[in-house]
Symmetry: C2
Subunit: 714 residues, 2 copies
Amino acid sequence: MEENFVPFGGIKEDVRGRLMCYKQDWSGGFRAGFRILAPTTYIFFASAIPVISFGEQLERNTDGLLTAVQTLASTALCGIIHSIIGGQPLLILGVAEPTVLMYTFMYNFAKDRPDLGPKLFLAWTGWVCVWTAILLFLMAILGACSIINRFTRLAGELFGLLIAMLFMQEAIKGLVEEFRKPDRANPRLTEFQPSWRFANGMFALVLSFGLLLTALKSRKARSWRYGCGWIRGFIADYGVPLMVIVWTALSYIPSGDIPKGIPRRLFSPNPWSPGAYQNWTVIKDMLNVPVLYIIGAFIPATMIAVLYYFDHSVASQLAQQKEFNLRKPPSFHYDLLLLGFMVMLCGLIGIPPANGVIPQSPMHTKSLATLKHQLLRNRLVAAARKCMGKNASLAQVYGSMQEAYQQMQTPLIYQEPSAQGLKELKDSTIQLASTIGNIDAPIDETIFDVEEEIDDLLPVEVKEQRLSNLLQSVMVGGCVAAMPFLRKIPTSVLWGYFAYMAIESLPGNQFWERILLLFTAPSRRYKVLEEYHATFVESVPFKTIVTFTIFQTVYLLICFGITWIPIAGVLFPLMIMFLVPVRQYLLPKFFKGPHLQDLDAAEYEEAPALSFNLDGDICSMASFADGGEILDGIITRSRGEIRHVCSPKVTSSSPTPAKDFASNSPRLSDKVYSPRISEIKGDHSPRRGGRGPFSPRTLETRPSNLGKSGQNLE
Amino acid sequence: MEENFVPFGGIKEDVRGRLMCYKQDWSGGFRAGFRILAPTTYIFFASAIPVISFGEQLERNTDGLLTAVQTLASTALCGIIHSIIGGQPLLILGVAEPTVLMYTFMYNFAKDRPDLGPKLFLAWTGWVCVWTAILLFLMAILGACSIINRFTRLAGELFGLLIAMLFMQEAIKGLVEEFRKPDRANPRLTEFQPSWRFANGMFALVLSFGLLLTALKSRKARSWRYGCGWIRGFIADYGVPLMVIVWTALSYIPSGDIPKGIPRRLFSPNPWSPGAYQNWTVIKDMLNVPVLYIIGAFIPATMIAVLYYFDHSVASQLAQQKEFNLRKPPSFHYDLLLLGFMVMLCGLIGIPPANGVIPQSPMHTKSLATLKHQLLRNRLVAAARKCMGKNASLAQVYGSMQEAYQQMQTPLIYQEPSAQGLKELKDSTIQLASTIGNIDAPIDETIFDVEEEIDDLLPVEVKEQRLSNLLQSVMVGGCVAAMPFLRKIPTSVLWGYFAYMAIESLPGNQFWERILLLFTAPSRRYKVLEEYHATFVESVPFKTIVTFTIFQTVYLLICFGITWIPIAGVLFPLMIMFLVPVRQYLLPKFFKGPHLQDLDAAEYEEAPALSFNLDGDICSMASFADGGEILDGIITRSRGEIRHVCSPKVTSSSPTPAKDFASNSPRLSDKVYSPRISEIKGDHSPRRGGRGPFSPRTLETRPSNLGKSGQNLE
């Protein structure tokens, strides 16, 4: 994306791009069939549970003026609007922690003013929202999102990890709270006797850890050894919501002498009570707010605008990382404009606004990548099986698979039909064909295990559509109606879920992977290489990685510390935005350009890195015929991102548990070229070719020769 | 072992065999240095904790006549005697659950007799022990252990699984008990109010699951990615005792309002109190027992003798399974004789006797195999590194490793110096040499990752010595003195530990693996093959496996059900002994001979299976030069045990977590021959060669050709 500050320029481009695929956004979603329910349910829970919990927090902080009903309503309303007319449908909207913090701050300011007070609080926040909306309009129109490319991986991943820390903090705080007496509760109730409080705390530990551990396990169900395929698939798809239900059910087992309040459960108002809807008419009171406060509302509005600008854009960016190989264009400017409208709408009906949320947005993309993978896989396996039934040769089988693959690719109007994915499949075919020995000999399933092979062949692709987002928003809206059921969930299950979300957001975050690398035994560092396809481990000296990671960790801890400061804490996004100049002007003074590129690629630094890599990457020259591909391979590499031409992924035929979707698509070509070329070149330097200091190549090549020697011996 | 019923024949042979390696039993132990402490501590905890818990059970059942002090004393005394003058030093002795059941039964009988009563109870059990000892002498002398070979894998593993179930049952019972009021406790204590009981139960859940999960994780520490080598090694070696300490410490965190009795802790008498030792002089009272009871003592004595004969022999047999590749001879007859003496000794000083225990005995062997592996590994890595420092070729490196290996093998007087192990290493050398390409080219660590390679090369060997057994027995004795410290351990940690022991005893139990196989998705069954080297998956039709396993499971459940019957429950070993005729006469009517051989090899059926396998196993012919090796390979195979010539283990260069020691020694030769030969023969039948219905071979061969095609392309 070029930096384009022409007024309306960015918005126009976004709208044009998204309009072109708008129809496909819907048709693609419907074509996925009932399977779309898996990511939908997954994201619905990830979205609704924190929103309910934030609603409870808000209720405590605003003396019941705003409750979970309002946060759920806002999340549902904005979600539905965004999923239908929004730009990037992968982005998930919700009422987030920063919004809660801002509203708490505003309430504390307003409640003691005689001419404002709790009565006019919502009307006043209406004005704040109006100002915020105006600021957001201005930013969107003037192309403020153009600088989104300056938010490099450094800033985005730091923010992601910060959010994970806040979620984890919420989980721990919540668990500790289970041992204490709630502030507003009646202390004379049986359940707040010391013995029952202790019992409640211990019960909470059991429930939350139970949920956390089983939820983490269930996500990996597809690679379990036991149970038949559809059960495993079902558990992997719906395991987390299922576990929430299971642990809620388990929480009802202890009965008899146990007081009703143990374990503590969600406390939320009944949305069917008559007083629950008074805030919808807040617009009537807005003119009663004194003029001074209407103008003064501009101050919190600036802060919220900055916050939303950053939060919304980064959530969108994290949902569209390079690794996901998205086909459809981004839409930062237009989405910011739409956010402005939605903020205004929420303000006028007296509910807290929703914005793009982390980690739900990247979770959404990931779950859609899994879905797409499943869909592609089923189709290709079916095609291959059908073909093999006719005693076909490997070449024919792959031909049929390619055909099926092509059919699955709905060509988008504005680009050639998914050339990249096809190219990959073709490459893999040639490679795999040669491994079987004879491309024209008939094969059967004993030689060629379709189910296993296909996982290795498929590239990462995401089912980009609007249906899952719309459905989950509607379901969040349904939560308001289902509140009586939701109140059965123990709060401790919630804390376990928070911890789960924090942990689920970690894999794929390169910053996190680098932190782990610091604690990895030197002899096992190559494993990081295997698992995460991380180039930097090979190309950057370990000392530099350490320094960079420690700098980033310290910065993260400072940001985390700031969130603890009572009011200024809201400004922590400013700290992260401050990373932009730090990255652009300060870091290059301490780190070498190419290293910085590998650790944290910035588009504005692309040019020099390109020439550097052209020098070193002979392998990519050798392996690709057309120049466009060379460029593609090199750019991917120079950006220090997940997969690239020389990735030294070790071939593994068995399904790899504990890895994300990313591991499902190693390109076979990668595996083939790398070890050999470095041998021919005799190049042992760690930067080139790939014979790094922790060379996994030797391990890789062994089986191949083993096979040969086996033949010789016979 | 031949069936030898000549009086004293078996004992003589045992003594002769063990005397020959007696000196080495000690010198080998001392030569291991401080590392011997790892298996020692491991087994000490596995031995002491159940003994303490059984002691508590006994105390409740005998109104405090016998306590944990007596069970610990007996375990220590018998352990020390056995480790010094016993035959098989791998066998661990302890007071076991059956003994507790027998003593409870006897106490219930004695306590209400006016001429016996609690006062003369111990004196009477002294007589029971005397009779038991006499029966054991007779059995030992007459060669009753000769029929130990009739206890096939079927009986041994069923018994092992039954013990695991009993341990798990104890853990669950104990946990449930934590929610209830103990029988003997004062119900007016604060900690027995409903609220505190519930709190105590929940706390117990946290502590026991905490211990179980962390203990299971810690055993796998060696394959962790994080932390430096020695920390990982330390955690793997001492993790379980460490976790007992950690969770005991954590149990002290809740303080303040919490009553002292929460969580419940071990309750044991102070061994330093004056009355604690009155039972040592029980021999004085023995003549006061009425003659009728002296004679009547013969009845329980028969039951105990049968029980001990079986329990002791099977524990010894499980500690000496084929997979462990033991070098030193067994000693069933002599050990039974010695057990007789120890039973008599215990009876005379009024403590319950100890016998060989499951699962501690096989756990002991396994931990010593790990130790031996570590020792071999360190020496060989050092030798290889030293050699590579001199810019040596691969052939030279392996030469030096072979030399180091040979030095590690203390030649036993009565056999050639560990020919098998050396042969393996040599074979592997040749294979691995050819994989690198050129055997004479100088290599360095980037090509040849010593640490990784060596794990693949080393055969399973066990550090057979007496020191670990002696030390752990002495430590158990020390427990009596350390009782005040032991009382700090929460009972819930104990229940977690029981569950841990039950789970730890499962891997390697082929019966358990077959049960798992029933629940394995068909497409993933080949994984069982990979992980457990299980021949039967390939050679026996799946339906037969299912039938056999279901039969075994039903039998197991019947045995388990019998243990629930109040008094007759003690006779459950009879049920398992009954398996001997069932296996010998009944099962062959329902299963085909070769299948039965693969599932449950019996020596008395060896001959026909041999000829059958000679027919099918061309691959073993091809791969071994000398006839002795062929025989060896075929016998191993026909016995349906872990490793054999055609084992289709998939090559894996990365360390394999979650596997036991067994996976540390795949013979490279296995990997090489199998896929190729089956291709040449074009043999797709599941029984031969190895192209089974779930063919992992194709997966295996791919990387080899990938390497080749990579070369072609360049």
